[in-house]
């Protein structure tokens, strides 16, 4: 699915809760706080919100509950989307499609979770979630059953195909931690060196502890409005230029299966890049800041290659020479990403892109940021939106 937006929709408000390991609050409470915060930031009256979207992996609250809690007088459209990294930022694309088609005027998009203190995505402490049926009947019986274990298989292929090393993965973690040190919201701000990364324990070889994102409690929300309404609101409108949600062939029989893909080293980005740039009317050279979905360090390398920032196999060298630093060719995951800020399933990255385009990022501001990319990763399928002020 590809869609060209022509600046008909814009992100008008953003909101988030505190990010923590134990919120001590209900997921609904978190969702409502982030939602209200985003609506207040937009300058809209709560009653003007007539659409609500979310995505989850059996770990969140339904949009109806959020709409009810916010006291929305009417609900024009709602959808609870089953998915995680693979579909995350596509919710912004879908909200933009809703407002530009006239189905809704102002759409609230949220992701809320007690991802550390409640339902842990990796399944630690939740034996009952492992059921070897569907696609998992071919993987889980062999003990291959959590996201770090799955993605390590693809990371290994990247190493085999391109000569990528564990140090190459580690540099992503180190750079993002340096960004997080400038972000007061980040859960991990202590300096991280490449030696620290190499000394961290092996979880699923080739992935070490610091190759793997955090687990977090918290919520993020954005409001997407029609562009003609956005121009009368207090914030600088962050327009949606275009977006994509898709992949190549053989995406598996599961929600996010990937073992049927022909070449496991490269990801969905290579399959959808042409669609994305053609829909958006810009190219990778035009992008100033990017939120590249970083469930794992490896994911950042393969997406940067797939979207054409560099050629396949060249991300490691580019990153080592400063390519994704704050003042590099493109500033990547300036909030610290999910490796260091928090794991709110990609939506915290969208908010960081909005803050960058508004110029609100303080001493981690990318000078003159005008065009941003936010992506979501699911190996064979994924999503991306291009945003611009």
């Amino acid at each position: 699915m590809t869609w060209q937006h022509h600046r008909q929709a814009a992100i008008t408000g953003v909101g988030r809760t505190l990010f923590s390991k134990e919120s001590g609050r209900s997921v609904l409470d978190l969702a409502v706080e982030a939602g209200l915060s985003a609506i207040e930031d937009s300058g809209l009256d709560v009653a003007e919100v007539d659409g609500v979207l979310t995505y989850a992996l059996n770990d969140s609250v339904y949009t109806q509950a959020v709409a009810t809690s916010l006291g929305l007088p009417s609900l024009g459209f709602y959808s609870n989307i089953d998915g995680g990294g693979n579909i995350c930022v596509s919710t912004v694309l879908q909200a933009a499609m809703l407002v530009s088609s006239g189905v809704a005027n102002n759409v609230l998009v949220y992701r809320a979770m007690n991802g550390r203190s409640g339902h842990r995505l990796g399944g630690t402490g939740n034996v009952g979630m492992f059921r070897a049926d569907g696609e998992a009947q071919y993987t889980m019986p062999f003990g291959w059953m959590s996201y770090p274990q799955y993605i390590a298989m693809a990371a290994r292929r990247h190493m085999i195909k391109y000569g990528t090393t564990s140090e190459d993965f580690g540099r992503v973690a180190v750079i993002q931690r340096a960004h997080a040190a400038r972000n007061e919201r980040a859960m991990m701000r202590a300096p991280l060196t490449l030696e620290d990364h190499q000394g961290s324990r092996i979880i699923a070889d080739p992935l070490r502890l610091f190759d793997i994102c955090l687990e977090s409690d918290g919520a993020c929300a954005v409001v997407v409005s029609r562009a003609d309404r956005a121009k009368d609101l207090p914030n600088i409108p962050v327009h949606v230029l275009g977006g994509v949600l898709g992949g190549g062939p053989a995406n598996g029989y599961g929600l996010d299966g990937f073992f049927m893909t022909d070449d496991m080293a490269d990801c969905y980005a290579a399959d959808v890049a042409d669609q994305l740039w053609s829909a958006s009317g810009v190219g990778p050279r035009d992008v100033d800041v990017a939120s590249i979905y970083d469930c794992f360090t490896y994911s950042v390398l393969t997406q940067l290659e797939g979207f054409g920032f560099v050629k396949p196999g060249e991300a490691a060298g580019w990153i080592a020479s400063g390519g994704i630093d704050l003042d590099g060719d493109v500033a990547v995951n300036t909030n610290g990403g999910m490796l260091s800020e928090a794991y709110i399933h990609g939506l915290n990255g969208v908010i960081e892109m909005v803050d960058q385009l508004r110029g609100d990022c303080g001493d981690r501001q990318r000078a003159g940021a005008e065009v941003a990319l936010a992506t979501g990763f699911g190996v064979t399928t994924g999503c991306a939106v291009v945003l611009a002020r």
Binding site: Y138, F142, G143, P148, I202, A204, D205, Y253, M264
Partner: protein, 140 residues
């Protein structure tokens, strides 16, 4: 003990064959392409009639993960262990577990492997793979 695979109508014959220590692939009657995992239709030509063809015992290593941090007790006792993807024939690449590889640093893509069925006391059979010993590969 392992985690029991839960077959469905599309996969029952695959798991039944494993129990009889035969590795099979769902193979299209029309275009004769094998596919894994089995599905309701041939993914190449969309035909819905299949045979179950016997696969060779050998395979080559495509990728692998040395799992140090297992997430459930059944596998915690075993860690570290090696999950792998192996190429059996064109069109058939399978997740599996590698056994008999004490030195994980010696694993490499393309390494020759042979299937080894393991009967679980709970009444199912899994298809693990084992590196082919040097002398055996020389002997052909």
């Amino acid at each position: 003990m392992s985690l029991r695979p839960i077959p469905d109508q599309d996969s029952q014959q695959f798991w039944d064959a494993c129990k009889a220590h035969r590795l099979v692939a769902q193979t299209c009657r029309r275009c004769e392409r094998p596919q894994f995992p089995p599905g309701p239709r041939c993914r190449s030509c969309r035909a819905d009639e299949f045979t179950w063809s016997r696969l060779p015992e050998t395979a080559t290593l495509y990728s692998w993960v040395v799992i140090h941090h297992a997430v459930i007790d059944e596998f915690r006792r075993e860690a570290p262990y090696v999950a792998a993807m192996v190429d059996v024939v064109p069109g058939v690449r399978m997740p599996t577990k590698l056994v008999g590889c004490s030195d994980v640093d010696s694993l490499f893509a393309g390494m020759q492997l042979t299937v080894e069925f393991v009967d679980d006391p709970a009444g199912f059979t899994l298809h693990n793979y084992r590196p082919v010993a040097e002398e055996r590969s020389l002997a052909g």
